[in-house]
Symmetry: C2
Subunit: 217 residues, 2 copies
DNA sequence: GACTGTGAAGTAGTTCACAGCT
DNA sequence: AGCTGTGAACTACTTCACAGTC
């Protein structure tokens, strides 16, 4: 029952939230057990990978039967550290920041909006989804109030590093960066990046490999 | 001048847009040449990786000097197939879809908004950023008009697969899926996925590894 | 002297294939 | 019989280290 937990490979970690989502669905459907084969199908990967991934959690399925859905869901939440909500603070109340703040999907999945801050005084005080934009100077207070929080950078690339520094100074230990810029943080801080244009460019690459486009402007 | 182009590894492809962004910056700053060491620093990777990545493009830098920024930028655009704009069509005019449609960053980086469609009649006709929402039945026409386009799925997860099927039927060959659901498409279609909550959960994992949180509710 | 391009070595991730439990 | 858990084989990616060029 322990889980002599070896270090979980990054590639596995990146898949755990997908399994989590599927398990939530299965619970909703009152499905009591699931085999690696089925889970693999639902996740779009192969069964050996599922079994190996789950084995890192110290999970014990039952041979001949499969995995107990409730218990696996419990373990998955435990492993991901999503047994409680993690509030998020959005920095930047431009289009993207407002969009993210409005996006209810976050709250539903355990990441409620704690606040939105912006350096631009003309934006401060305006409504964004469920909150009002607050000045950057409120950041420290906001973080202290909700800690631990995840900071979301939704500013132009040019100020992303500065914002990251301010988040770290305010006590934020996990950052999701949507700005198209390299951001570096101390090693104790977790950082991930999402760049929407970059994803489109990757699609562009694979697509133009198949069916090269005329290059005439 | 040829570039006896070996197949480019996926990991390299995923980094090319980052190099592209950096090169655009360097051109703006009128910097004529760049060494792999410097490029690596700007991209947050190591120099050997940069050199190997660029070598897949059939790029020739100059030993003792570095890479010509203009030429490298040209090659990068060529490789990524972003020498012309790729219009995007957003499916789903909910919070996320409207957010994406409003997000100017796309247009600036070569992905202008061709339209927004939604299955919900009460949303059809409403303004979203620069366009009006059109009904799903206009999808085929919209695609035909702008082809090739990239389809963006910004719907609830439950209808994501159906939307993907409709996009494919309408002639879309590249899809970016923001819905939290597995979507499968024929092998000739390029597909990528961005799941915002999933990114937050990954951060949650790494953070709770460091500083486990009390589990009391 | 400086910097690229790349084989070779090293590391991480995936998949196979099967022993072992229920 | 059915399905997990995992060593072993394989594949992909990264990094080293250095010969080659300017």
């Amino acid at each position: 029952m322990d889980g002599h937990t070896r270090r979980i490979p990054d590639a596995t970690v990146a898949r755990l939230p997908e399994y989590l989502r599927i398990l939530v669905d299965l619970v909703d459907q009152r499905i009591p057990t699931v085999a690696s084969e089925r889970l693999a199908e639902l996740a779009g990967v192969n069964a050996a990978k599922v079994r190996k991934d789950l084995s890192y959690l110290g999970t014990y399925g039952t041979r001949g039967v499969g995995y107990d859905v409730d218990y696996l869901l419990f373990q998955m939440r435990q492993a991901l550290g999503v047994t409680q909500d993690w509030p998020v603070i959005v920095v930047g109340a431009g289009n993207l920041g407002r969009a993210l703040a409005n996006y209810a999907g976050f709250g539903e999945r355990g990441f409620p909006l704690a606040g939105v801050v912006d350096a631009d005084d003309t934006k401060v005080g305006t409504e964004v989804g469920p909150v009002r934009v607050r000045p950057m100077s409120d950041l420290k207070e906001l973080v202290a109030e909700h800690r631990p929080v995840i900071g979301i950078i939704a500013t132009p690339g040019a100020v992303a590093q500065q914002v990251a520094d301010e988040l770290v100074a305010a006590g934020v230990t996990a950052i999701l960066n949507f700005a198209p810029a390299l951001v570096t943080v101390p090693p104790s801080i977790s950082l991930r990046k999402v760049d929407l244009a970059l994803e489109l460019q990757i699609l562009s690459f694979y697509q133009s490999q198949r069916e090269p486009r005329r290059d005439s402007a």
